[in-house]
């Protein structure tokens, strides 16, 4: 039988806005996934370490501080440096459209802005994670 999809929901940087992260974490869990929520104020290093330790299929990064163009590329770089190529990275938050385009080019699978329905995000993660 295929295992549950394992998702790390992460809050990088100093931003404490965690309403969205908690809603997504719960929606993913309710959809049958294994969800590990890192809690707040994580460094890119801590997030990548958690992703590796938890053998995550996907990492969901929630960020509303405007620091996404610094923190997300760093997380992608650290994942690559650690040889984690197959993890699906999804970003949610207040991400201007041209930044979203840039993040997708860097390897982010999906970017979700304010108002994105949780069902859409759940379906996206399911679709993006290769079947075990």
């Amino acid at each position: 039988m295929a295992g549950k999809i394992r998702v790390v929901v992460a809050k990088p940087g100093l931003d404490g806005h965690d309403r969205g992260a908690k809603i997504i974490a719960r929606a993913l869990r309710d959809a049958g996934m294994e969800v590990i929520y890192t809690g707040l104020h994580q460094t890119p290093e801590q997030i990548v370490e958690t992703a590796i330790q938890e053998d995550a299929d996907a990492v969901g990064i929630s960020i509303l501080s405007g620091a996404h163009m610094t923190l997300v590329p760093r997380i992608l770089e650290l994942l690559r440096e650690n040889g984690v190529e197959d993890v699906v990275v999804v970003v949610g938050g207040t991400i201007p459209e041209d930044d979203a385009v840039a993040l997708r080019k860097l390897g982010v699978a999906g970017v979700f802005g304010p108002g994105a329905p949780t069902g859409e995000i759940v379906d996206f993660v399911r679709g993006a994670v290769p079947a075990a």
């Binding site: 931003d15 992260a21 908690k22 104020h41 405007g66 304010p114 108002g115 069902g119």
Partner: protein
Amino acid sequence: MAATDREKGVGNAGWRAGYEAKPRREGELFSTISGVENEALYSPEDVDLDYERDLGWPGSYPFTRGVYPSMYRGRIWTMRQFAGFGTAAETNARFRYLLAHGQTGLSTAFDMPTLMGYDSDHPRSLGEVGREGVAIDSLADMETLFAGIPLGEVSTSMTINGPAAILLAFYVAVGEQQGVPLEQLSGTVQTDILKEYIAQKEWIFPPGPSMRLVVDMIEWCAKRLPRMHPVSISGYHIREAGSTAAQELAFTLADGFAYVEACLERGLDVDSFAPRLSFFFNAHLDFFEEIAKYRAARRIWARQMRERYGAKDPRSWLMRFHTQTAGVSLTAQQPQVNLIRTAIEALAAVLGGTQSLHTNSFDEALALPTEDAVRLALRTQQVIAHETGVVNTIDPLGGSYYLEHLTSELERQAYEYFSAIEALGGVVAAIEQNFQQREIAEASFRYQAEVERRERIVVGVNRYQVEEEQPIEILRIDPALERQQVERVRAVREGRDAAAAEAALARLREDAARDDRNLMEPILAAAQAYVTMGEMCDALREVWGTWRETPVF
């Protein structure tokens, strides 16, 4: 003999029969946005109030109808737009722009590193400097922030909590440089650390030493800065984190009582500090629920301050508050619609008797606001103040069966939460058990689910969507600003009298380790020696440690 229904008209029973016979809209909820059930109609039967006891007169106990006898006939609320981004020089320019357009008070937003007690050159600050507010590292930045703004003539609000005492010291030091007597400095420092643990999550130290710093500030301001509000007890962030109106009301007031109790434990007389406590609430979209919330808040505060804490000075009973419209209600979809949401929210705040108001800009679900968007937001307040006529009569909705019922209902729910928090051992103990955090997470998830089932309609999000047009113009923060700010803080460290800075820091460390010293004086001395905010926070972290929550979702 009782009058017949015919003699009285159809009567409640008659109306109800007529109402039940009619079809209802299907699929949508009739409860408030917070989930409080609404009846279809309220009548005198639903309102059990004693006018003098429960409502009273504006400016008189229990202040349900307002804190001043004249309210907006005497003076319009303070229009106070929150601003801050980039470096101190950028924000100084925005402040002057707002003052030039008729704003009557300043309100400072600090960036994430400042809120968390890190200097701009700290590794954790990378990418965050000046993004969500202005970066302030030392007295030198504060001098730039208020350059050309006479601090004796404006009132300034500072949204800062963990390092609040340090930022207040910077402000006082600038005031002294400008030659303003301390008694003339006026404004508000947020300082409300309890709601940080509950909702906004920008903390530095554990609750114990954090509470001590708050009491130090209250005590010091009572003696030295009589026109400063040392704490703004805030429900805003609790609501933004997804709480209901009742949770916002209850958790905020419970926090307020916790500060009062901490000051009493210090040995302060309640009337020496209570008149300077102020509050900060959200203005969300459920119009009547919000107005009821403000009215209930005033009534609860007055009664508890007088009856439970024995305050004798009427100024200790009255709750003054600032309001900000709900950022969380803004949508990234069809952003211009946010102008309408904000206008309605602002109207609720005014009808609820707010003392000052920030209206959000329509582009804030996308980025920090542009100057044009901020001006429109300010104009919204000016239209309400000068064109709608709602300022002519005090508490114009008082006596509405529905509003009075809802006011009492929110009050009842708040007292239920007070009991629950007390049963857990008080506010801090409840926070440590994740009680408030869990309640908020539940409420926020419930609301999101209702939106996704389309039981609640959000215009442009789950109904009336359009293909989104070209993105609107948004404010961009130049990444070069971070580099400039990093260079600036390093220059400050190099240019100061090193021995004086070291001595001031040593004294701060020493006093922090003892619990019989008020830390405001050593913090002010360190500020004046150009010790940076991050250095002071590091010193205090060494003595007190830091805080980490166990997250729940």
